[in-house]
C-alpha cells in the first residue's frame, strides 16, 4: 500500500486519482472492458453527447500525421436519449465518476442536454465542448469570450453539477476565454481540444479528410497544450484538467507541474487502451520516488530553468 495521497478535487467532484480520459478517445467506457476496469480511473469522460442523434462525417475521418493524428469525426453519437437509455446504466455499474462531454449549436442546446443529465443523475460533472472544430459553428463558442461565457452561464443555471469548460487552442490568447468562463461560473477548465489542421495526399492531389479540416492531437500538440495550461493556471483560480499528447506517465507529470489538477489520456488510448492505468501507476511512483506525500503538491510546481 502506497502512502501517497492521490485524490484530487475538480470543483465538488472528488477523483480518487488525477487521471481521466479525453472525450471521444475512450468511447462510452464499455468498449475496452477487457482492458480497463473503470473503477480504477479518477473519472471517465465519455464521448460527446448531443441533443439529437448525429450520424457524423463521412470517411475518411482520421489520418495519421507526424507524431499525431487528424480527426474529423463530426460528433457521431446516439443523442441524449440514447445516452440515458443505453450508456449511463452501464457506466453507473462502476464506482467511477462520469464526466459527460456536451457540445451544442447554441446555449439552449447545451442547457437542454445538461438539464436532462442532471434530472436523470446520469453524470457527476459536465464538460462543455465549446470547441469542437469539426461541426459547423462548433468553434464559435470557444473563440469569443462573450459567447463562451453565455454558454457557461446558461448551463450554470440548470445544474449544480460541476461545470467544466473545455477550451480550444485555436485562439490568439486562451487566457481571455479562460477568465470569461471562470467569471461566468465554470467550476473548472479542461484543455486543450484539438488544433485545427489539414493533410493532403500529393499523389492523388486530394485532401486526405473528407471534411478537409480536422483536429490535430497526439504528441505533436503537447507543447501547445502545456503552455495553454501554464498560462491559464496563472490566470484563473479554478482547477484545470490538462490534456494534449499524453503518451506516458512523465507527460502527465509535466501537465501537473504546469498547473493541471487532473489530466486526461486521449489519443494515447488508441495506441494503448490501458494508457490511463499506466499513467495512474506512474504518477504514484513518481511521487514516491521524489518524496511527494500528496499528488496535489505537483500542481504548478514547475520553476524557471
Amino acid at each position: 500500500m502506497s502512502t501517497v495521497n492521490m485524490t484530487v478535487q475538480i470543483g465538488s467532484l472528488k477523483m480518487r486519482n488525477p487521471v481521466t480520459t479525453g472525450s471521444g478517445t475512450f468511447g462510452f467506457g464499455s468498449e475496452t472492458k477487457d482492458l480497463v476496469p473503470l473503477d480504477r480511473l479518477g473519472a471517465v469522460t465519455v464521448k460527446a453527447t448531443t441533443r439529437e442523434r448525429r450520424l457524423g462525417n463521412p470517411p475518411q475521418r482520421i489520418v495519421e500525421t507526424a507524431s499525431g493524428i487528424l480527426n474529423a469525426i463530426g460528433l457521431q453519437n446516439g443523442g441524449i436519449d440514447d445516452y440515458l437509455a443505453n450508456k449511463a446504466p452501464y457506466l453507473r455499474g462502476f464506482d467511477c465518476p462520469i464526466i459527460v462531454n456536451v457540445p451544442g449549436e447554441n446555449p439552449n442546446d447545451f442547457a437542454y442536454v445538461v438539464e436532462r443529465l442532471t434530472a436523470a443523475g446520469a453524470a457527476d460533472a459536465v464538460e462543455l465542448n465549446l470547441s469542437c472544430p469539426n461541426v459547423s459553428h462548433g468553434l464559435d463558442y470557444a473563440t469569443d469570450p462573450q459567447l463562451a461565457a453565455s454558454v457557461v452561464a446558461a448551463v450554470r443555471k440548470v445544474t449544480s453539477m460541476p461545470v467544466i469548460a473545455k477550451l480550444s487552442p485555436n485562439v490568439t490568447d486562451i487566457r481571455v476565454i479562460a477568465k470569461a468562463c471562470e467569471d461566468a461560473g465554470a467550476d473548472a477548465l479542461s484543455m486543450i481540444n484539438t488544433v485545427v489542421g489539414t493533410a493532403i495526399d500529393p499523389r492523388k492531389r486530394k485532401f486526405r479528410l473528407a471534411n478537409i479540416t480536422g483536429g490535430l492531437s497526439g504528441p505533436a500538440v503537447k507543447p501547445i497544450a502545456l503552455l495553454a495550461v501554464w498560462r491559464c493556471y496563472n490566470t484563473v483560480k479554478i482547477p484545470i484538467i490538462g490534456m494534449g499528447g499524453i503518451a506516458c506517465p512523465l507527460d502527465a507529470i509535466e501537465f501537473m507541474l504546469a498547473g493541471a489538477t487532473a489530466v486526461a489520456c486521449g489519443t494515447g488510448n488508441f495506441v494503448d487502451p490501458t494508457l490511463s492505468l499506466e499513467v495512474i501507476d506512474g504518477i504514484e511512483k513518481y511521487c514516491v520516488e521524489n518524496g511527494f506525500a500528496d499528488v496535489n503538491a505537483l500542481i504548478g510546481a514547475v520553476t524557471a530553468a
Partner: protein, 284 residues
Amino acid sequence: MINFLHGMQTYELFRFVGIRIYFGVIKKEAAQVVSVTPLSAPRHFVLTMKSAHLASHSRPGHFIAVAADTGSAILRKPFSVYTVNPDAGEISILFSVYGPTTTAMSRMLPGDSIDVLGPLGGRIFDPEPIKGIHHILVGGGYGVPPLNYLAKTIRASAPDAMVTVIIGARTANLLVGDDDLLDAGVEVIYCTDDGSAGVHGRVTDALLPLLKSDSRVYTCGPTPMMKAVGELSEAHGVDCQVSLETFMPCGVGICVGCVVKMRDGVFSRTCTDGPVYPGCEVAW
C-alpha cells in the same frame, strides 16, 4: 443463440445471416517472435509468434494490432490472423512491407518481443459448414491471409465441405498464401491482371461461372474488388460475407474513425461492428 462460456473466457452472443458476433477477450501482451519467414513474393513475410491467448481465442476474421517502434508514426497497425496453432500456442500473420510497422516487423528476430493487442473484431466469418454448400472465398492483397485461415477452418471441421479459393493479383509473383490450401484439399483458382498465371482477368471473371444457388461467398481484399464480388453475388441471389479492412486507428471501437456507410445510412465501425458484414448491408 446465447452461449456464454465464461470458463473459456470467450462469449458468443448470437448469430445471424451466417455472421457471428464473437468477441474474444482482448488482451495486450508482449508476445515472443518465433520466426519471420520471407515468402517468394517480394517483400512478403510470415511472422509467427507465441501467444497462448491469441491461439485459443482467435477465429477466422479476427485481427490483431501491432505496435512497433516506428518513430513519428504513433498508431498500432492491424493484421489479420493467418494461421493458428493452438497446440503450440502460436499464431502467425502474413504481411507485405508497406511502411514503418511492417518494415520493423520484417526485421524482427526469433526471441524478440512484439507488442500485440487482440484478438480484435466483433462480427467475424461464420465458418459453420452447411452440407451441400459450396464455399467460395475470393481474396486479393492482404485479404488473402484471413481467407486462407477460413478455408482451412471449414475443411478441418467438415472434411467433405466443398471449398474454392479464388486469389487475384496484378501479376504471378504477387500471388501468396496458397500451398497449405492445396494440402487441405481446397480448390485454388488464380487470377492475374496480366495473365502471367491462372485466369487472365479479374476475380469476378473466375467467380461468375461458379455462382449457383448453393454457393456462399466470402471476400476480403481491396475495396473495389469486394464491391464487385458483393454486387455480383447479390445479383445472383447468393449470400456474400465481406470483410472490410478500412484504416483502423484504434481497433477497439473508441475512435469511430474506421467507419463505413451502411445502406440504412448509418456509419458503422468496421473494427467492432465488423470487420465482416453481409455484403448486402454495405453502401459501397
